[in-house]
Amino acid sequence: MLKKYISIMRGAALAALLMCGASLAAQTTATGVINGTLVNKNGISIQFDTDPAGVTLGAAGTSAATANFGTVSAFGPLAAGVTRPSVTAANFTVRTFFDVQVIQGGLTSTTYTLTANLAAAAPTGLNYKVDAITLTTALQTIQINGAYHTDIAHNLDLVILTAAPGAGGPAVNTPITTTINFTATAN
């Protein structure tokens, strides 16, 4: 009788342990659904990149970059990435290259038009050209069929009069800074 009682108790204890184990293994879960929505707005962006043949741009990869020709003269040495394609009695030209990349999303447009203008009148004795187009404060069309999502190289020329300062030539030995505004418009 006692043995039977002990046996029953053992069985009860084992069952209790198994139930406890099952309880420990159980996970409490909950589920939910979030309905996310977005509005896909189309648009384009422009950025300036350093061209392998040009000067290294400051803030490359952004829409507000800087290009520094360094010290330039008609006959002296030039910085890396700057060339001097012409020297005449009246003026000389120094040239560098920069890349423009325009990215579009959500548009059916396949090309863009690039325009540029000087933010202010050119300093005395200097003219600025992009792809041989002389810039003014008025918008000038630089390219009408730019391809998206790729770097497109452009020439940037500074045409500098050889005249002395005060005689029509530019100021010397001081940095001369000009801002060029670019606008890309989806075609």
Binding site: T66, S73, G76, A164, I180
Partner: protein, 177 residues
């Protein structure tokens, strides 16, 4: 009902109009900086009265070849010769053109110096003796933008063996005043 229809049409037209005039544009700025400095440039040109430069005319690395010269024999056109009891001198006009840009400098100074020693012959540029020991001042008031003739002359002793090649380099330096 008619009013609602009209309003719907009006709204649709407004949307179409808005889409038609909208342009997708992006803008950026490139700030460009340069520092202009004054500079001068020196080139050699053949002088009409002298020996034509055999190479490098219009550059800053030219060659003046007198050819065969002697104290008493025939002499090439463009060479001026003078003879003393112990030596003879051959001379040719050579033009130096110095150009300035972006500078208020009024004139330039010019010096010349032999590239290597010559213990036998005497060299002059513009009448000024030049050696390899130091740069000799040729002019202190050179005029920009005009060919200036600074004759190159070599005085050769009679003791020099026939067939001797005389060759040297003259280094010119123009400095803006």
């Amino acid at each position: 009902m008619k009013k609602v229809t009209l309003l719907t049409i009006f709204a649709a037209l407004m949307m179409i109009s808005s889409a038609a005039v909208a342009q997708t544009t992006a803008s950026g700025t490139l700030t460009v900086t340069a520092t202009v400095t004054g500079s001068i440039n020196l080139v050699f040109n053949s002088d009409a009265s002298g020996v034509a430069l055999s190479s490098g005319a219009g550059t800053n690395a030219a060659t003046l070849a007198f050819g065969n010269v002697s104290a008493f024999g025939a002499i090439s056109a463009g060479i001026v010769r003078s003879t003393t009891a112990t030596n003879f001198t051959v001379s040719s006009a050579v033009d130096v053109l110095v150009t300035k840009t972006n500078s208020v400098s009024a004139n330039y100074s010019l010096t010349a110096q032999l590239g290597s020693v010559d213990a036998v012959n005497t060299w002059t540029v513009g009448g000024v003796g030049v050696t390899n020991a130091a740069a000799a001042p040729i002019t202190a008031t050179g005029t920009y933008g005009a060919n200036s003739n600074f004759p190159v002359a070599i005085t050769v002793p009679f003791t020099t063996a026939s067939g001797t090649l005389i060759s040297n380099t003259i280094n010119y330096v123009a400095t803006a005043n």
